[in-house]
Amino acid sequence: MKKNEVPQDEGNLSKSNMKELIYATDEEGNYTTALSTGWEPKTIALTNSIDDINERIAEAKTKVKEGKCSPIVYFMELNKMDLPILASYVGMWKWRVKKHFKPKVFAGLSDRVLQRYAEAFNISTAELKKFKAD
């Protein structure tokens, strides 16, 4: 890529006034660096991922509302986590966390266990317990 071809598209970086460094060649073909505000294909890829996460959050919310899963699932998606990541944050086996996805099991959880989830989600135990998907 030549220095004058380094993309300067609007994107997620330019919104917060950030620029990334890119290696490109000058007129003589020698390597130098240039700053880029963003590149459209990257913005599209990132937007796609964010849309995907938002869809997952909405889906989890509906399921909590319908009583098909516990609020833990909703907060897991909200925090962009998946099962292995959540299990690692709360320090429990994956199968145990998975059990807590069930509303019935969730209702019987002790405050000590709920506390671990609340900490991982950066909320209070009450917020987790009383979460209503409205």
Binding site: L21, I22, Y23, Y31, P41, I44, A45, S49, I85
Partner: protein
């Protein structure tokens, strides 16, 4: 307290931290040189591991391996420490800063408050340098940022003890011994040989063969998983390629810059020619990203577009195979 550390922005975090720390210790080494000598160019496809709900593709070796290889090949000594207790981790870092040692850290991205929200994913192989501390903040040199920044004590603690794959466990590292004269020529030759070996490895998921594997999978994704999931996979592929550590085109350009520097040091004209060739391959990676992004943006349902993309990637794999064979010959 503050150390007299100079921040240089870089394209990739691990190269940047290594280059900045070594420059601070009196060894003038550029980002491309670190990347090349650390054999940073790599490719591995792990279809059975899922990252962000898509198959894992990595354009780089394991975290830490670039700096470790640079150290080994240039005869430097790096100290690395991991901690099980947060208090000890903080104490060790503060001790270093008191002794005027800017310190590299492996951190998780999710709680890096100076990143835009959209970039904050659970990705634990990011690197930065802490070069000072005030009553409330740590002074941070994050090599992908234009200028230095800060994190509160609590925020730094969180990113050092992020959980999940590659959990940093408070890992900190810093050079403890940097020789006055280093043999760049020998290190470069060894490094190039390894990169050629990696990229031409006779394993289906690594290097050129790995790229071909992904290319063939692309045509299967829409049939096996439907268009929506296939497009999500493609988007992840492009993000891994151009965003998280600039693996595809970006890495090719850094490697081309390395070959250009290397051709001067080794007095090898052939490397300069090959640098040009690598630049062209990098441009093709970028074209691939453009075309892939068109597919998942329009959400086209034809299977034909996936075939076109697949062929594009196969073509890149062919060119790279030829390239690394020539590179191997050029230094032997």
């Amino acid at each position: 307290m503050e150390t007299n550390f100079i921040h240089h922005q870089s394209a990739h975090c691990e190269n940047g931290v290594a280059s900045n720390l070594l420059r601070h210790n009196g060894l003038d080494i550029s980002e491309p040189m670190v990347f090349g000598i650390g054999s940073g160019l790599f490719f591995v496809y792990l279809p059975f591991v899922k990252v962000n709900h898509a198959p894992a593709i990595s354009y780089r070796p394991l975290p830490g391996s670039i700096f470790n290889k640079v150290a080994k090949r240039l005869g430097l000594k790096i100290k690395r420490e991991k901690f099980s207790s947060e208090a000890n981790a903080n104490k060790a870092l503060d001790e270093n800063l008191k002794n005027n040692i800017p310190t590299g850290l492996q951190v998780g991205v999710y709680n890096l408050t100076y990143f835009p929200d959209e970039y904050r994913f659970h990705f634990n192989a990011h690197n930065l340098v802490v070069y000072g501390k005030t009553d409330t903040d740590y002074l941070i040199s994050d090599p992908v940022m234009e200028t230095v920044t800060t994190l509160t004590h609590d925020e730094l603690n969180k990113v050092r003890f992020a959980k999940g794959a590659f959990a940093p466990r408070g890992q900190m590292y810093y050079p403890i011994q940097v020789p006055v004269a280093v043999d760049f020529a020998k290190a470069i030759t060894t490094a190039i040989k390894q990169t050629c070996r990696d990229m031409l490895a006779p394993m289906p998921i690594i290097g050129v063969r790995g790229i071909r594997f992904v290319a063939r999978q692309i045509t299967k994704w829409p049939i096996k998983h439907g268009t929506k999931k296939a497009n999500h996979y493609l988007a992840q592929l492009v993000r891994m390629q151009e965003e998280i550590g600039t693996g595809g085109g970006g890495f090719r350009f850094i490697y081309a810059a390395f070959l250009q520097e290397a051709s001067v040091i080794l007095k090898n004209e052939k490397l300069k020619e090959l640098s040009l060739e690598m630049t062209k391959i990098g441009d093709l990676w970028r074209d691939f990203a453009v075309n892939a992004s068109r597919v998942y943006k329009k959400r086209s349902t034809q299977t034909d577009v996936y075939n076109t993309l697949s062929n594009e990637l196969l073509h890149i794999a062919d060119l790279e195979e030829e390239f690394f064979k020539k590179l191997k010959k050029a230094i032997s």
